[in-house]
Amino acid sequence: MDVENLNSMMIDVLKEIGNIGSGNAVTALSNMLAKRIDMMVPKVRILEFNDVAEILGGEEEIVVGIYLDLNADIKGNIMFILDLDSALNLTNMLLDKEDAELGDIAISALSEVGNIVASSYVNSLSSLTGLKITVSVPSLAIDMAGAILSVPAIQFGLIADQVLFIETVFKEGKSSVYGNLFLLPDMASFEKILSKLGVL
């Protein structure tokens, strides 16, 4: 398969997976919080490498990234990124607190949220394709947006000159949580997904 041709196909398929996945993720989050959570229609964005960090307020903005490895039939990874305010809103929602800083318990809770959101995404991908996918434990980092985003950007860099990601916005009451999800199957796995979906 040619990389050039893959780009537009990849975008369409990831878009669709993203739409289904976000729905599942929000349902899971809502169950976990035992609260009604509204979700905006996920936005699929395609950006040049240079513009990627802008979505999170610039390269030096501090963000939280939660990274999980995918294995079994599909190899790759999935990453969930939140800006610091969203991370705080989310953990305060979860822990029923009004903290101004992320403590150890909040960080642990964030890992768990990343785990749930990512797993729901992956589950929908798995049932859509009939492929078995296992998800690793989450790894969390709090650092500059540019540095965290270099991880998915580099992986897209292997196959394209742009980065594709799905922006999901959750809302509970007054607090908004802006989250960005990057699903990154490796090339061979991507071909598997396309072929299972009848695109290839």
Binding site: F49, G58, S136, L140, A141, G146, I148, S150, V151, I154
Partner: protein
């Protein structure tokens, strides 16, 4: 003084007085080249170790090997002399860690190794290095003296 921003998979060159900066380097590597006699500085922000490993390699500034070649070409155009050029390299962090480290997470380390190798091949001396670790870095290269400011979140600030 003018401060020029170098983005991901990008490079730029400036003559003194001027500053080149790249923000939030993670697993990418910032390659700072400098000719102290002609006061010409160049900075590249590369993402991947080799243009030879993958098919989609048209964007030369994305790779260590072709990125360095491009940067040197621009430096020479701005009046730098090859034998004067020295290097400082920063970045190549591993932002996330697991027990079974997959190769994609080790890309930072591979980027640094590839950079050292390419510079050696071109006989360019590496004067200083701030690489590895698990955190991001912002850098500023001053064309006046070739000093390189490295800023981090929680890991201090230094000049190399």
């Amino acid at each position: 003084m003018k401060k020029i921003k170098v983005g991901m998979a990008d490079y730029n060159v400036v003559k003194a007085p001027g500053i080149l900066t790249t923000l939030g380097l993670g697993s990418c590597v910032g390659i700072a080249l400098y000719d102290k006699f002609n006061k010409v500085a160049g900075l590249a922000h590369v993402m991947l170790p080799s243009s030879k490993e993958i098919k989609n390699n048209e964007n030369k500034a994305k790779f260590v090997d072709t990125g360095i070649e491009l940067l040197i070409e621009s430096l020479l155009n701005e009046g730098a002399v090859m034998k004067n050029i020295t290097a400082k390299i920063v970045g190549g962090a591993q932002m996330f860690s697991f027990n079974n480290n997959s190769s994609i997470l080790k890309i930072g380390e591979r980027n640094v190794l590839a950079t050292r190798e390419k510079l050696k091949e071109l006989n360019i001396k590496i004067l200083a290095e701030d690489t590895g670790g698990n955190y991001g870095r912002t850098i500023e290269l001053d064309a006046e003296d070739g000093s390189l400011l490295v800023k981090t979140i929680g890991h201090g600030t230094k000049i190399i």
